[in-house]
């Protein structure tokens, strides 16, 4: 019964969403307020309709209603109840429903946030959001309905993919999917403004920037959580493998990073109006590309669980939206002429532009590497793998240059700078970078690439701290005590100082990535219970191994006692779970983590007499990568907190509108 109600709710929401897009667009073009209002209220009611469908699905899971195909395919009687939430988005149809409801909520929030401040472009933005939603709901309705019934009810379901049964899975997939779809919001706001011929007024920029940063933050968190999940469960000691699906999430992140920076130039200087439109179109296209690769992925990937045959639909939608937005862009280009011109190569504007180009280059090369195997197959019939070594060589250096730009870019003044300005601004960071290199070489690190990379991080870190120090000192001269001076400094210009905090997070991430990719130690060893092994100052004793039987899996657990020097680090339990029905092995690493290094044990193979192969890894500084997550979140939120602006108008608002400035 519930299922039928949910089924109807999905149909109604598709129809409603179609109506919203048409009504809003027509209302916007023909200036019919009634239509626009009806579309808006239609949107407000969509989350409720979709909630009905979600409740129906959850209820089917809880009551083990295997007559519903999706439930039968993604759960079974043995599945623990709390995994209902994971099962909800474990398969294709359910994840689409999840995306639809999350997106409808985001769209409601977005429309509420812009409808007063951007009355002219709201109908267009609403129409665009509704179009995207209609696309998802159309697929759900006609091709992948999670509430579809099976002709014959099976006695038990097939169960959930065991790789998904992990704490990281509770949050990584939904956050990542939310991140990808959330790019639609800044896209709609920007393109909406452009369609309404308001692109030349920078009124959309503030709110567009806020939504861009929200989307960026969600994408960032999705990527980090995914890496963390890979690190703890995929069991090879790494966190990033340049897998096609990872790439497909990285590309929109790169483009959004470019966007949230270049939008600042438009906010401050009324420049880059066309460029920002291009970037947000690229970001949106790449996010659709991400969903396409994840769903219809033509390239093999560890993420193949949400695979389906409907990749081509996403590809088509991507093509249509790219084509459509480019046409719209060409038609509206005249409205997008900048208010000001670039004055000098030595200016913050140029640095932003340079940074943008680097990010887009990184995104396009990643895209190229991801699609090349498909191209080669289609054109030449050969199968090629483009994997980690390729990206390390090709994208690695670009990321390093980006770090340099991050280090010195913020110290270039707006408009134009003289050479001596620049020299004064970057001499301290540069000296710090050289000092870093010297110290690192002195303590015996000889890897030239690693030394260079650390030195670059030194430049960027010194730049940020130097700026904080100088600002605080200036305020202290006016008699403020240290902490008040510092707080005042960073709260007076939140976009800037929030940005610095995010940059610090990026540095933590970079240092973790550099250290762990150059200085990780890895050894596979065969051990009998009772054996002891020493590596890198750690002593590990393999005490025992035992087996535990569960309804769905057999667990093989190794028990280790680990000491470092005289310090007892306690017991560690690396384990391997064999899921009988799926014939899949899931590995759970045992990790002792601290800011210096991670001690990491993965079981590779257990044999019956307790003998087993273990992989021991010493991964330096990985702790900093996970710590970077909260730092970046705090920085972003700080940069977004509203700030009271003192403004004086030289002419009144009405006058300004009348003169159409």
């Amino acid at each position: 019964m519930f299922v039928e109600i949910g089924y109807i709710a999905i149909g109604v929401s598709f129809a409603l969403s179609t109506y919203i897009s048409i009504a809003s667009l027509v209302g916007g073009i023909k200036k019919i307020p009634e239509l626009i209002v009806s579309a808006r209220w239609g949107l407000y009611s969509l989350p409720f309709l979709l909630l009905v469908a979600v409740i129906a699905l959850v209820n089917a899971f809880i009551t083990n209603d295997f007559s519903v195909r999706y439930v039968a395919e993604n759960s079974n009687l043995a599945m623990p109840q709390q995994y209902t939430w994971v099962a909800l988005y474990a398969g294709n149809a359910g994840s689409l429903l999840f995306i639809a409801i999350v997106f409808s909520l985001l769209a409601v929030a977005a429309i509420l946030s812009i409808r007063k401040s951007l009355p002219h472009s709201t109908p267009y933005a609403l129409a665009l959001m509704a179009l995207v939603l209609t696309f998802f709901l159309g697929i759900i309705c006609f091709m992948a309905n999670p509430l579809e019934r099976l002709p014959i009810t099976p006695a038990d379901g097939q169960g959930i993919n065991p790789l998904l049964v992990h704490f990281g899975m509770f949050i990584h997939p939904p956050v990542q999917m939310t991140g990808l779809v959330s790019v639609t919001i800044p896209f709609s706001i920007a393109i909406g403004a452009m369609l309404a011929k308001r692109g030349g007024r920078d009124e959309w920029v503030d709110i567009g920037r806020i939504w861009g940063m929200i989307s960026w933050l969600i994408l960032t968190m999705g990527l980090l959580l995914g890496s963390w999940w890979a690190y703890t469960i995929l069991g090879w000691g790494g966190y990033w493998a340049w897998d096609p699906v990872e790439n497909s999430a990285l590309m929109p992140w790169l483009a959004m990073t470019a966007f949230i920076h270049s939008i600042m130039v438009q906010k401050r200087r009324g420049m880059f109006r066309m460029w920002n439109m291009v970037i947000i179109i690229v970001a949106f296209t790449l996010s659709l590309m991400g969903m396409f690769i994840n769903r219809g992925g033509p390239v093999p990937s560890v993420h193949s669980f949400a695979q389906s045959t409907m990749g081509w639909l996403f590809l088509m939608f991507m093509g249509v939206s790219l084509f459509g937005s480019l046409i719209a862009f060409l038609l509206r280009m005249d409205n997008l002429i900048s208010r000001d011109k670039l004055e000098s190569l030595l200016s913050r504007e140029s640095m932003f532009l340079f940074q943008n180009v680097l990010f887009l280059i990184a995104a396009f090369i990643t895209l190229w590497g991801s699609v090349f195997p498909v191209l080669a197959k289609v054109i030449n019939g050969t199968t090629v793998t483009v994997g980690e070594p390729f990206y390390n060589v090709v994208v690695g250096p670009i990321l390093l240059i980006i770090l340099v730009v991050m280090g010195i870019g913020p110290f270039f003044p707006w408009r134009r700078a003289t050479k001596s300005n620049i020299y004064r601004a970057i001499r301290v960071p540069l000296a710090a970078g050289i000092l870093t290199a010297i110290i690192i070489i002195a303590v015996g690190i000889r890897q030239p690439l690693a030394t260079l990379a650390f030195a670059v991080c030194g430049v960027a870190a010194a730049g940020i701290f130097n700026e904080w120090f100088r600002g605080t000192r200036t305020r202290m001269r006016k008699g403020e005590p240290v902490w008040i001076a510092f707080t005042n400094l960073i709260t007076r210009n939140r976009p800037r100082y929030g940005g610095y905090i995010v940059h610090l997070g990026i540095l933590m991430l970079a240092i973790g990535a550099i250290a762990s990719s150059f200085y990780s130690t890895q050894q596979d060893i065969t051990m009998q219970p009772g054996d002891t092994y020493e590596i890198g100052g750690y002593t590990l004793s393999y005490l025992d191994s035992y087996q535990r039987k569960y309804s769905d899996r057999d667990e093989f657990i190794g028990e280790f006692k680990v000491t470092k020097g005289n310090k007892d680090l306690g017991l560690m339990y690396p384990k391997q779970s064999f899921y009988r029905e799926f014939r899949i092995n899931a590995t759970h690493a045992a990790i002792k983590s601290n800011p210096i290094e991670d001690f990491y044990i993965i079981p590779s193979e257990f044999s019956n007499n307790g003998e087993a192969i273990f992989r021991i890894l010493l991964n330096p500084l990985v702790w900093w990568m996970w710590a970077a997550g909260p730092v970046m979140a705090i920085g972003t939120i700080f940069a977004l907190t509203p700030q009271k602006r003192i403004s004086v108008r030289l002419i009144s608002k009405e006058e300004e509108n009348k003169r159409n400035l």
Binding site: V302, R339, I365, T385
Partner: protein
Amino acid sequence: MIPAIFFTAITVSCSSTVDVPYSVERANKLNETVMCPVCPGESIDQSQNPLALQMRDIIKDKLNQGWSDQQIKDYFVEKYGPSILLSPPRSGVSLVVWVIPPIIVVLSLLILIMAIKSMRRNKVRSDGLEQINPSPEKISEYSKTLEKIINEP
């Protein structure tokens, strides 16, 4: 203080060299370049699949027999085809994958330079500031506010 922590962490963790036999290090490096044929998107270094374990053993054995890295790679290519290697070969069709990225970089930088040049001589839209002619009261109000912002603690 935070930079100091950073520093100590870097130097402590990266300078402590752990003695891993050269052959093990070489085997690990090779494992990272060979794909696991049955596990989608994972190298044999990453995968804990029995086949991957077997292949790791093969690499260890071949290294002990004195095979070179290239010989081992060729051995796998012969057995499983060229897609077994994670790094596409720098010859034949796959050469294209290596050639395009530098072209992308050069082209983008060229476009950037041209864009900057054209932006510098570009016409700009007037923001109408010159036709505002604000009243003297407005101007003094404006400068008062500015003063206030500058002088506030």
